[in-house]
C-alpha cells in the first residue's frame, strides 16, 4: 500500500500538469510554457508557505502564480494570435530567470537551503492534493466527454469555425481551457515543493513540465491514458530508487529511459487512429 502511495506521489506533479495540459490541447491551445508555470508555482508556494507558516496558503499562491503566467501567455497566443511555441518558450525563460533572480535577491547569490512547512499527510501517506488531484482529473475527463461545454471545448480544438458558428466564443473557451491548464501547472509545481520537497532550488522542476507535455501525446489526448502513462513514469522513478538501485550493475539512466520505451510501445500498439486535435496550436481570430 505504501508503495502505491509512493508511486502516486512520484507521478503527481507530472500527472497534475499533464491533466491540465490535456484540457488545454483539447481546446487547441499548446502550452509549451508548462515547465515555467510549474517552476513559478514551486517558487511562489515555498515563499508563501515560509512567510505565512501555512502550507495551504503556499499551495494557493502556487496556483495563482501559474494562473498569472497563464494569463500572460494567453494575452499573446489568444488575443494577439502569436505563435504558441514561441510564446510558451518565452514564458519558460521568463519564469526561470525571474525565480532565480528573486531567489538570489532574497537569499544571497550563493543561495540558502530553505525549509518550509509542508502539506499535512493522512495516515498511510496520502494527502488532500493526491486525492483532490485524482478527483479533479476524473471530473475533467467527465466534463470533456459528457457535457455540452466539453463538446464545445473539443470543437475549438478540432474545427474552431464550427464552434463559432454554433454560437460559442472560441477565444473565451480557449482562455478557460488555457487557464485551467495554467492553474493545474501551478498546483503541480506547488505540490513538488510543498507536497514532496519542503524546499526550493533554482530550476527544481528539472524538466517535469516537458515530460508532462510528452505524456499528453503518449496518452493520445485521452485523460485516462494520460494518467496511465504518467503512472508508468512515476513507477519507474520510484523503482529507480527503491528496487533496482540496490543492484549497482544497472545504470540509473536505463531506468529513466524505461517509461518512455514502454509508453512508445503502448503508443505503437494502441495509438493508431487517434490523432492530435486538428487545430492544435493554430491561432484563431474571431470575425466581428
Amino acid at each position: 500500500m505504501t508503495e502505491v502511495v509512493d508511486i502516486l506521489r512520484f507521478a503527481a506533479p507530472i500527472g497534475l500538469a499533464a491533466t491540465g495540459e490535456t484540457i488545454g490541447q483539447k481546446a487547441g491551445v499548446l502550452n509549451v510554457g508548462l515547465e515555467g508555470m510549474m517552476l513559478a508555482g514551486s517558487y511562489a508556494a515555498v515563499i508563501a508557505s515560509g512567510a505565512s507558516g501555512n502550507p495551504w496558503l503556499g499551495f494557493g499562491a502556487g496556483m495563482v502564480a501559474g494562473a498569472a503566467l497563464g494569463l500572460v501567455q494567453a494575452l499573446f497566443t489568444l488575443k494577439l494570435a502569436a505563435d504558441q511555441v514561441v510564446a510558451g518558450t518565452a514564458v519558460n525563460l521568463l519564469a526561470m530567470g525571474l525565480t532565480s533572480a528573486l531567489f538570489r535577491l532574497q537569499f544571497g547569490t550563493s543561495g540558502k537551503l530553505l525549509s518550509v512547512p509542508t502539506l499535512p499527510k493522512f495516515a498511510g501517506g496520502l494527502d488532500l492534493v493526491l486525492i483532490g488531484g485524482l478527483l479533479a482529473a476524473a471530473a475533467g475527463a467527465w466534463v470533456l466527454a459528457k457535457t455540452k461545454f466539453g463538446l464545445a471545448l473539443r470543437a475549438c480544438g478540432e474545427y474552431p469555425s464550427a464552434a463559432q458558428a454554433a454560437g460559442f466564443s472560441v477565444t473565451k473557451i480557449r482562455l478557460i481551457a488555457a487557464l485551467a491548464g495554467a492553474i493545474a501547472a501551478g498546483a503541480a509545481g506547488a505540490y513538488l515543493s510543498l507536497g514532496i520537497s519542503g524546499s526550493f532550488a533554482e530550476n527544481m522542476t528539472a524538466g517535469r513540465g516537458f515530460i508532462a507535455l510528452a505524456m499528453v501525446t503518449f496518452g493520445r489526448w485521452r485523460p485516462v491514458w494520460v494518467a496511465v502513462a504518467t503512472l508508468f513514469v512515476g513507477a519507474a522513478d520510484w523503482a529507480q530508487f527503491s528496487v533496482w538501485a540496490q543492484n549497482p550493475a544497472l545504470p540509473p539512466q536505463a531506468w529513466r529511459a524505461l517509461p518512455y520505451v514502454l509508453a512508445l510501445v503502448v503508443l505503437v500498439c494502441a495509438g493508431r487512429g487517434v490523432a492530435a486535435p486538428a487545430a492544435l496550436a493554430a491561432p484563431f481570430q474571431e470575425e466581428a
Binding site: G108, S110, G111, S193, F200, A201, M204, A206, S242, P248
Partner: protein
C-alpha cells in the same frame, strides 16, 4: 619575449593593471554547495585583491565559448570549477598565452593551464569512519546529484572510511541525476532509509535540504558536505566535510597577478588547511569520546600523510 629561454614556452607576464578574474561553474552559484563556495572564493578575490570579476554558468559546448569570451575581454585568470574544464582549457589556452586557465581537478597542463584539486575525499573518509562507528543497522547511504567522477570519488572515500572501522557495513548509493531536483533528493533519501540506512551523506548541493528533511522525517542523522551545514534548521547534521576555498582562491589569484603561476597540478587537502571535518557542537552527545579520539588520530594521520585516503584520478 626577452625572458623566453630555449624551448621553454612563453609564460603569462605579471599583471600591471587591474587584475581580472572569471569563474565558470557547472551549476547555478546559488547552490549552497560546490558552485557557491567557488563564487564566495571569487568574491574574496574581488574584495581582497581589488580585482574585477565575472562569473558564468557554463557546461558542455558552452565551456570553450565562455573561456574565449573572457580571454578576449582581457581576463588574466579564468577558473573552471570542475574537472570538465581542464581539456577545453588546453585547447583555448593556445590562443590566449596571456590568460591563465585553471580548473578544479583534471590531469592536463600547459604553460598557462593547470589544475588544483580540493581533496574533499579526506573529509568524506572521516565522515565514513564516524558513520561506520555509529551505524546500528550496519547500513549507511550516499545521495548524489549528477553521477560524475568527482562525486563518485568522494563516495568511494566515504565507503572506505566506513569499511575501515566496520568491514561488514553496507553502503547504499543513489544518484538523482540532477543537482537541483530537491524532490528526488528527498525521495532517494527516504528510499535509502527505508532500506535500512541510519546515517546519510550527500553530494546534492542545492537539493541538500531534501536529504536533510528526509532524515529528520525518519529520525536519522546526516553529514553536511562542501560547506559547513551543521546549523541546518533540520537539526540532523552531525558533522560536515568542508572545503575551505577562499585562501586557495586568493593564493592562486595572487600568483597570477605576480606572474609566478606555472601550469601545474596541485592538491589542497587537510594538510594545507583546505579541507576540514567539523562536528556539530549541538549534537556532541551523539558521538562518544572514543569515536572522537579515533577521528582525531585519523585526522592527524591524514595531515602527516601517514594515511592516504583513496582518490580517483580523472
Amino acid at each position: 619575449m626577452a625572458d623566453n629561454k630555449g624551448a621553454e614556452p612563453a609564460k603569462p607576464a605579471p599583471v600591471k593593471t587591474t587584475l581580472k578574474v572569471a569563474l565558470l561553474t557547472p551549476g547555478p552559484v546559488s547552490d549552497s554547495g560546490w558552485s557557491a563556495l567557488a563564487y564566495d572564493g571569487l568574491k574574496a578575490i574581488e574584495s581582497d585583491l581589488k580585482a574585477e570579476v565575472g562569473n558564468q554558468e557554463a557546461k558542455d559546448a558552452q565551456i570553450k565559448d565562455s573561456m574565449r569570451s573572457y580571454a578576449q575581454k582581457g581576463y588574466n585568470l579564468v577558473f573552471g570549477h570542475g574537472f570538465e574544464y581542464n581539456e577545453p582549457a588546453i585547447d583555448v589556452a593556445k590562443e590566449f598565452p596571456n590568460t591563465v586557465f585553471v580548473s578544479s581537478s583534471g590531469g592536463k597542463t600547459a604553460a598557462n593551464v593547470g589544475a588544483f584539486r580540493f581533496a574533499l575525499e579526506e573529509g568524506f573518509y572521516l565522515a565514513g569512519i564516524t558513520a561506520g562507528e555509529l551505524s546500528k543497522t550496519h547500513k549507511v547511504a550516499m545521495i548524489g546529484g549528477p553521477d560524475v567522477p568527482s562525486i563518485r570519488s568522494t563516495f568511494k572515500a566515504f565507503a572506505a572510511g566506513a569499511k575501515s572501522v566496520n568491514p561488514d557495513i553496507e553502503v547504499i548509493e543513489k544518484f538523482t541525476m540532477d543537482g537541483q531536483d530537491v524532490a528526488k533528493a528527498k525521495q532517494a533519501t527516504l528510499a535509502a532509509i527505508d532500506q535500512g540506512a541510519d546515517l546519510v551523506i550527500h553530494q546534492a548541493n542545492a537539493a541538500a535540504q531534501g536529504v536533510f528533511d528526509a532524515c529528520k522525517e525518519k529520525g536519522v542523522l546526516a553529514f553536511g558536505a562542501n560547506l559547513n551545514q551543521n546549523d541546518n534548521p533540520s537539526g540532523v547534521v552531525l558533522a560536515s566535510a568542508v572545503i575551505v576555498a577562499k585562501p586557495a582562491f586568493i593564493e592562486l589569484a595572487k600568483r597570477v597577478q605576480a606572474g609566478t603561476y606555472r601550469g601545474e597540478i596541485t592538491t589542497a587537502g587537510m594538510t594545507e588547511g583546505a579541507i576540514m571535518f567539523t562536528f556539530n557542537p549541538k549534537l556532541a552527545d551523539k558521538v562518544s569520546p572514543d569515536i572522537r579520539k579515533k577521528i582525531d588520530i585519523a585526522s592527524l594521520s591524514i595531515i602527516n600523510k601517514a594515511l592516504k585516503v583513496p582518490m580517483d584520478s580523472f
